[in-house]
Symmetry: D2
Subunit: 345 residues, 4 copies
Amino acid sequence: MNTFGSLFRVTTFGESHGPAMGAVIDGCPAGVPLTTAQVQQALDRRRPGQSAVTTARAEADQVELLSGVYEDKTLGTPIAAVVRNQDQRSQDYDALKKEDRPGHADRVWRARFQHRDPRGGGRTSGRETLCRVIGGAVADALLRREVPALRVVAWVSQVGPLVAPLPASGLTRAQVDAHVTRCPDAPMAAHMEQRILDAKRDGDSLGGAIMVRVEGVPVGLGEPVFGKLKSRLADGFSSVGAVTGVVWGPADLEARLQLSGKAFHAPNADGTPSEAYGGIQGGLANGAPLLARVLFKPPATLSDHAKAGRHDPCILPRAVPVIEAMASMALADLWLALLASPHRP
Amino acid sequence: MNTFGSLFRVTTFGESHGPAMGAVIDGCPAGVPLTTAQVQQALDRRRPGQSAVTTARAEADQVELLSGVYEDKTLGTPIAAVVRNQDQRSQDYDALKKEDRPGHADRVWRARFQHRDPRGGGRTSGRETLCRVIGGAVADALLRREVPALRVVAWVSQVGPLVAPLPASGLTRAQVDAHVTRCPDAPMAAHMEQRILDAKRDGDSLGGAIMVRVEGVPVGLGEPVFGKLKSRLADGFSSVGAVTGVVWGPADLEARLQLSGKAFHAPNADGTPSEAYGGIQGGLANGAPLLARVLFKPPATLSDHAKAGRHDPCILPRAVPVIEAMASMALADLWLALLASPHRP
Amino acid sequence: MNTFGSLFRVTTFGESHGPAMGAVIDGCPAGVPLTTAQVQQALDRRRPGQSAVTTARAEADQVELLSGVYEDKTLGTPIAAVVRNQDQRSQDYDALKKEDRPGHADRVWRARFQHRDPRGGGRTSGRETLCRVIGGAVADALLRREVPALRVVAWVSQVGPLVAPLPASGLTRAQVDAHVTRCPDAPMAAHMEQRILDAKRDGDSLGGAIMVRVEGVPVGLGEPVFGKLKSRLADGFSSVGAVTGVVWGPADLEARLQLSGKAFHAPNADGTPSEAYGGIQGGLANGAPLLARVLFKPPATLSDHAKAGRHDPCILPRAVPVIEAMASMALADLWLALLASPHRP
Amino acid sequence: MNTFGSLFRVTTFGESHGPAMGAVIDGCPAGVPLTTAQVQQALDRRRPGQSAVTTARAEADQVELLSGVYEDKTLGTPIAAVVRNQDQRSQDYDALKKEDRPGHADRVWRARFQHRDPRGGGRTSGRETLCRVIGGAVADALLRREVPALRVVAWVSQVGPLVAPLPASGLTRAQVDAHVTRCPDAPMAAHMEQRILDAKRDGDSLGGAIMVRVEGVPVGLGEPVFGKLKSRLADGFSSVGAVTGVVWGPADLEARLQLSGKAFHAPNADGTPSEAYGGIQGGLANGAPLLARVLFKPPATLSDHAKAGRHDPCILPRAVPVIEAMASMALADLWLALLASPHRP
């Protein structure tokens, strides 16, 4: 299954070292303003080679829209977008052709498909996530028209043992992008950057956490039983390779779970629902900002493989737009589901 | 959306205080041994009123199979199962008819559907989970035939601040059920039981965590991009009302995320893949036991509503078979997907 | 697969001689007026034993709504409806337990499922269509609220060699039901009735055609590529057991296909699009009435089996509400899809 | 909805005068032999400009596989294929930019999407069918491995009033392709060719029928209630723009419907099930060849628009591979569904 969503459906394709990666977005209504530049800008945010803390692999990642857009508006037909793979260097991987890379999924992939694509990770490569960024860019365009107040912003909240404080509401993607680590807390961002450079030097790697906050979610968004808002988002976030957990609410949620119910459920001082809910009640958005923490394993490729593949010592900064994209796609899908379930006075 | 799964599809229906709850299971192949007694036995494990630590609401919860089974074997047609609601006492809820219950989803539900069912939680009630247990019982029957070595076992690993040690592999459901708290560690089980009784006495409530382990998962189970094993399970677990997080791997996973990649990925002493993976690599089962921790909020209904609805001070013991059911359904679905993607030598 | 529809989803269950038949309708929005009496009335229109031209099998076919409706309005949750099988007489079928009935699907069913339910047709019985009538009744209730001008009316247009003329627009279901054959042309209805009674006497059977017309379809309904209006309806009609063809447009469509394009496409005298289109252009409704002809095989059960199962000599009169139900379900589903694809000025 | 199939899923994209057309095929298992040449060969069979009886529009229609295939075998990942639009001449259509073309879907499309793509038919163009041919080529590759005896062959059986006799079993695609009209009966093929040239000269057009026969279908293929073999095929065939009817069984099926049941159901002389069934009983394949007749309207574009768009006077010859493709995709999908519903001895 390579499709995410029921009504706003994003199908991704492409192997990391094949001819191209891409996505087909079906279900986006007609008349939504969308340009190639918008999609390109989204891709540029996850592009490798942007700073010393990311992989040296420099891919131009130029997107082409093959269908579904005419005179900068969506046609209501499938939007197909393609990115050619340019810096393939599959020869780097020749040495690995026969052996399974430790810490990678090579062995289990071969058990499933009776073969594996030796050219990098093939379909399991992190490069597949660029397709989700394409889907997220279209979802953002749709949400901008449909729910203008909605804002999806993610940031790096933890790198290894370093944990940043919760930023104030109203945080923008530009404020996050101002730091190469995508941690919006300047002092902690500096610590994280140094820690990543140290790991890179040591041929080591680092995991951590990304937090995502969605402001302006319409009350009632989500489905009540299956397809709950938290289920769809957990599904989407968990589909990103290195993600190893999704926890709703503030960073100290686990600590709060030690509290009794009276303390846990106490409303905020201003009478709004407790932030411990992470913005979700009964599977539906409760009107408060959604807040989730997405846990990432450190990447598996270590120094002795450095010459035979080029990887990020810490993927979190580049994963920020991917997490945002998954959130936007899930929200766009649930928004269309809400439209298909109308009230009549 | 009230359906879970793509090939093994479980559709649930029913409001907690309407005439009946039920499920239709479509996609179960023909010839699988299945009796009403098997399904009943599964339901009995989540039935309320079994001990002092659960709600006093005593429902007989007798299941009837309406279709899909003939002479104790599945027909390959949809299996419909119904449980009548007997102890409805909706008069208890009359007082609540006009006001939204704090901590409940009443307000957001009304925003979504422009009304709410005043008879208890309606569709958002925890009672809906009995339908999942029905689906899980059928999934278990299918998995028993198809993957006999597979074992899904969940247990209560945390209640409030009390955390139990990881039980040895080979743990059975019977060993878990031997304790009213469903914590298989006897000393900790006693502590938890007392803590829950204290909360009940105080009109308070407790959250915590359930761990679920799946032994015998076929290597390669899962889909590589969307529909990953961890996505489907996170989706399923998150669809349970009080669940507020899903984390893969051992209970100290968050602590391990502070480690560098070299330490995190170090194989076990016996050369098998690190248990930090939780049994999943590249989205597919890696052959080691799956291990996930599912976080639960404390329930919302507090003492001043005690007379107007009868609820568990701690839902974790009764949620154990529900989490197992979600795991079994997701695994059955992915198993059928694997069959539809055959290798030929 | 026992589900019809993507957004308005009807899942049917039940074997003809098992405990019960039923349907779960998911995706119907909240607040739609719906009573048990409405559903019962729809079922009564297909009930056996109503006249000499149908089977003698007398089933009360009392429906019970188990969920999804409260105070005569839909809740937005799944609507489960059940009909108990009362007149099972499975002993009638004991003789047939081991032999395959000629003309029936017994042999192919056994090839597929490695067994067959000997109690009548099991899941392939025409009795399964009562579940579709339930789904159609809910779809009608939804369409009545959403698209009040829409009218779905079917009638028997052919029995064996007897072909009725096209009735005028504005035909109602009541006018159709006024004839036991459900042919609204009185003289031809009388001929058909006699022909069916003759076939019954001879232990023979008759096929023919049902026409269905939908007035008031919103222009643009349908999907442009897959899920075209004509595809969904052809899919739905073809899912009825005895249906062996679906042809769009007037009864002389095949003759018109011999014409050249200029003649075929000539607009009507009043400038509206040619009725040869059957109301569909480019896969979408063109605003004119939809008109389709659904071809039916004669039923297979012949005289030597008369005592071992009780069947209709001609199923067309009782199939009329089933064809209407399939149309209503498809239209309700496509209507919700239209809502999920909004224009914004 | 631009996806066909549940397990073998083909998503098509592209507007006729946009940058490219294409398809993404998801669900094809790994290890299936597949080359670009195979797909190209399939496309060449529907390419315009091959003879005087088709459109003069000469498109090279070179396909490129972007993903899913490695060393001439499928990877089990999505197969993306793209065909660039080269001969766009959208200036031809400039004159039409503001007016709706009579007989086309322009008006209803605009009602649906509040705009239409003036560059030819956009998404409703017959050119979209090349994407289905891509999907059919992959389906054929899969079926060749999985069900080697299966053969899907379609041919032109009727052009205007000219009707060809039923060809003998064992007919091959090569035998059909030997005639520019794709009618395998040489004398009738010559008549049809002349008739089409006459229509072309007169600025007129012709409809008719294509028959499709599938030999070697596994007994039991199909789903019993919804997703019946005849439903899926009717759905697929009806999704082709000009199709206006699908009838199962031999060409004289309508005449046979006038017979009584005893005559209709009489087995063939050799005791095999009556060919009147068209190879389908109870929704499942009965082991005899599938036989369906697909009715086509004459195309709408007439002489006065000849200079403003280049179209086929009779699309049937070029529609033959499209109908085969829809059949192959439906069969591949149902085949995978059969694998997901296994018997165990």
